[in-house]
């Protein structure tokens, strides 16, 4: 690829082809919207149980907790839009041997494998999550400064990249294990923990969700940043973790490819 404009043109072609292919299955939109709304209703109900007697949840008010739930819903929508279809396709490419076609294109293979497919059915989740997130911020009575919003946006972007890196590394292991699809499902199920603020969990789980599976950095830290209650070191740690994860996903892919190109037949 020659520069960002060529990459943008390619991405437009990728996504318009994906949209055209997805439109062959029009009923999916309605089903996906129903599924997002159903999930959200369930989460809101569970969340409301915690706040029944005016209690708070690990130091978070109802409105603040809505921001966390909104970010989770948004990231889950993003997962359905980009991560799951693309990284699912990576596993299929390895199984069917069509990864060869991708590797023979003069395009960065990680770019191709991460962004080739765009499934619009995750967009209702992104939209509903976005609305919930903004509603939570407004209702919580926070008036974010431009700087606060910029930091919030940056941390949210970092959270998305972190989530992407986790998915990509897991999908890339299919080069060795071939059948890793179940593992990515387990990852998605674990990330459900990010629906609620991390401080709501017992200490042991908090450690797990911060240092082992970085669930905290996916939803709680961006929510704190948007609500202006994040400490600077935590925000920095969030950015650093995302940067490291992204770098690690790149290195891991280069390593996996070296293995693929010396082992496949």
């Amino acid at each position: 690829m020659d520069g960002p404009s060529a990459a943008a043109r390619l991405l437009r072609r990728f996504w318009s082809a994906s949209l055209a292919a997805e439109m062959e299955y029009g009923m999916n939109a309605a089903i996906e919207l129903l599924s997002v709304l159903g999930n959200l209703a369930g989460s809101l109900f569970v969340l409301s149980l915690f706040f029944r007697d005016g209690r708070n949840l690990g130091g978070w008010s109802w409105d603040q907790a809505l921001v966390v739930l909104g970010i989770y819903t948004l990231l889950d929508g993003l997962t359905s839009t980009l991560l799951q279809p693309n990284l699912g396709a990576l596993v299929t490419h390895v199984q069917k041997g069509t990864l060869d076609f991708v590797l023979l294109k003069p395009v960065d293979s990680q770019f191709w494998l991460s962004l080739r497919i765009f499934s619009p059915w995750g967009l209702p989740g992104v939209a509903v999550g976005g609305v919930l997130m903004i509603a939570g911020v407004v209702r919580a009575g926070t008036t974010p400064t431009p700087l606060g919003l910029a930091i919030g946006g940056l941390v949210l972007l970092a959270a998305s990249l972190l989530l992407y890196s986790l998915w990509f590394v897991l999908a890339a292991t299919s080069i060795w294990f071939v059948k890793v699809w179940n593992a990515t499902e387990v990852l998605r199920a674990t990330l459900v923990a990010g629906r609620y603020p991390i401080s709501a969990y017992p200490a042991g789980l908090r450690v797990l969700f911060t240092f082992v599976l970085p669930v905290a950095f996916l939803t709680t830290v961006p929510a704190e940043a948007l609500l202006g209650k994040a400490a600077a070191p935590v925000v920095l740690a969030g950015l650093l973790v995302a940067g490291l994860a992204l770098g690690a996903s790149r290195l891991f892919w280069i390593f996996a490819l070296r293995f693929y190109t010396s082992a496949s037949s």
Partner: protein
Amino acid sequence: MAMIHARGLGKTFRVADKQPGLAGTLRHFLQRRHRDVSAVRDVSFLVEPGEVVGFLGPNGAGKTTTLKMLTGLIHPSSGSVEVAGFRPQRRQADFLRRITLVMGNKQQLIWDLPPLDSLRVNAAVYGIDDAEAQRRIRELSEMLEMGEELTRPVRKLSLGQRMKAELLAALLHRPDVLFLDEPTLGLDVNAQARVRSFLAQYNRRYGATLLLTSHYMADITALCPRVLLIHEGSLMHDGSLAELTTRLAPCREVRLELREPLPAAAFAAYGTVEDLQGRAVRLLVRRERLTASVARLLAELPVVDLEVREPPIEELIGQLFRREPAP
């Protein structure tokens, strides 16, 4: 400068050595054993620009492994290879723009969409602008005799139509080195013939270099003045198909129909009796003695009809593989 230059190319794979059955599975689980399998051994050859070379060999001979080394998809364990002046395994963009790989058993087209959508993606991948892409699509689809198939979803195309669309997608960037792995696999006779004539035309029009593997001898005889024969990872022949036939079959078959039956001993002076049934005789005669033997047969025996046959190349290669076990 040669377009493809392989020097002492070799590839060894580590494969798990597992006995069958539950006991074998348990043993394998507890103590994995591996052994090295040599898929390609010390293969060297040169291909000049514009040449069409056939790559022959039975399943598992190492043809696909070699093709994958030439395209840079797998790294050689030994030796080296250069294609269009590049080292394939580095997979530089400039190298990838000059080659293509067509695999008869795998497809790159988007299943749910018409081929045109995949072609638009490929145009963007190779940085071909829309007008130029249109022009090339028109030109190639005329050569391939394609029409409305380009706007029909791939899943609704016949195997032959799909293969033509795959070829179009693989050649849109006008590569000058084509690696074709069984491009006519599963196609009916007519579709095979169309693919063959298209490849010959592409080679003539653009001066492209072609290296193709095929199980269909007709592909090789129609397209490849030169063949590389690979067996159990080693190169056994590099030359014309005629030379290969001479090498594999030093004899021709002479079929005779006689006016009256004769004993086998009557033919000893002309060749080896392969079959003798009443008045019908099949003799094997060495090529260098063929003309003289036929003339003598006609002059000396009561011949009603005579036919000289070349054994089919498939049969000869089959015999070769059965005759010569791996060294």
